[in-house]
């Protein structure tokens, strides 16, 4: 663990010596990677939930119909009350 911490310190020292544009580029890449990993994990979680609920194989038309229904319900709740 100590060796790993040491390596992280060394790596951080090296990055700190980079010009700021290069540092920002690396930080952005980390943000993007973590976002994509998180999105993938969330997608899998939602797909598993849909499988459990028997909705994973809903047809495109069924999904559009449900989305249209929800759209009207939400708008009515906000603007017709």
């Amino acid at each position: 663990m100590e060796t790993l911490d040491l390596r992280v310190d060394e790596f951080a020292q090296e990055i700190a010596s980079w010009e700021s544009a290069r540092q920002e580029n690396l930080i952005q890449k980390l943000v993007d990677l973590n976002y994509r990993r998180g999105l993938k994990a969330l997608s899998e979680k939602i797909q598993n939930r849909l499988i459990t609920e028997g909705k994973f194989h809903q047809s495109v038309d069924e999904i559009f119909t449900e989305l249209a229904r929800v759209r009207e319900v939400v708008a009515a709740d906000d603007y017709l009350r």
Binding site: V31, Y35, L39, S43, F64, L67, R71, V74, A75
Partner: protein
């Protein structure tokens, strides 16, 4: 100006097909993956639709992911103006579509990405264009 410079919006179907990784709409998943390259405006109507289509913990996680791009994703919880909604209803929109259109006009959003081929298709002189996800990706690749 390109798709990278202006605020745009995703219709709810882009989020839903994207997060489900629906094989019929692979471009939605790719757009969602690349959301950090764009400036995406999320109005109340779309947020509430996502809340109704996803479980609370899923919405919480999704918005937690979006918060990684604080300068790129703008969330607006305010209702839009009734006068604008009525304007789009008079043009032939249903209430829900009118609410989405009103949000976009109010914020000056000029591009909506949607897979719904019927959405606003017959409404004349819309103040924004409607692109499918594949067309949006093509535009992104063209200007990248």
């Amino acid at each position: 100006m390109t798709i990278f410079d202006d605020w745009i919006s995703f219709d709810t179907n882009i989020y839903i097909f994207g997060i489900r990784e629906d094989p019929n709409f692979p471009a939605c998943a790719e757009l969602l993956e690349r959301i950090g390259e764009l400036y995406v405006y999320l109005p109340r109507q779309i947020i509430r639709e996502l809340q109704n289509n996803l479980h609370p913990n899923e919405v919480h996680e999704l918005f937690g992911l979006f918060s990684r791009y604080p300068d790129r994703i703008r969330i607006n919880w305010e209702k839009t103006t009734l006068a604008l909604i009525e304007k789009f209803q008079h043009l032939g929109c249903k209430l829900g579509d009118a609410a989405v259109a009103a949000h976009l006009e109010e914020e000056g959003v000029e591009t909506l990405i949607s897979e719904n081929r019927h959405f606003l298709a017959e409404i004349p002189n819309l103040p924004f264009r409607v692109l499918k996800a594949t067309a949006a990706l093509e535009e992104m690749d063209r200007f990248r």
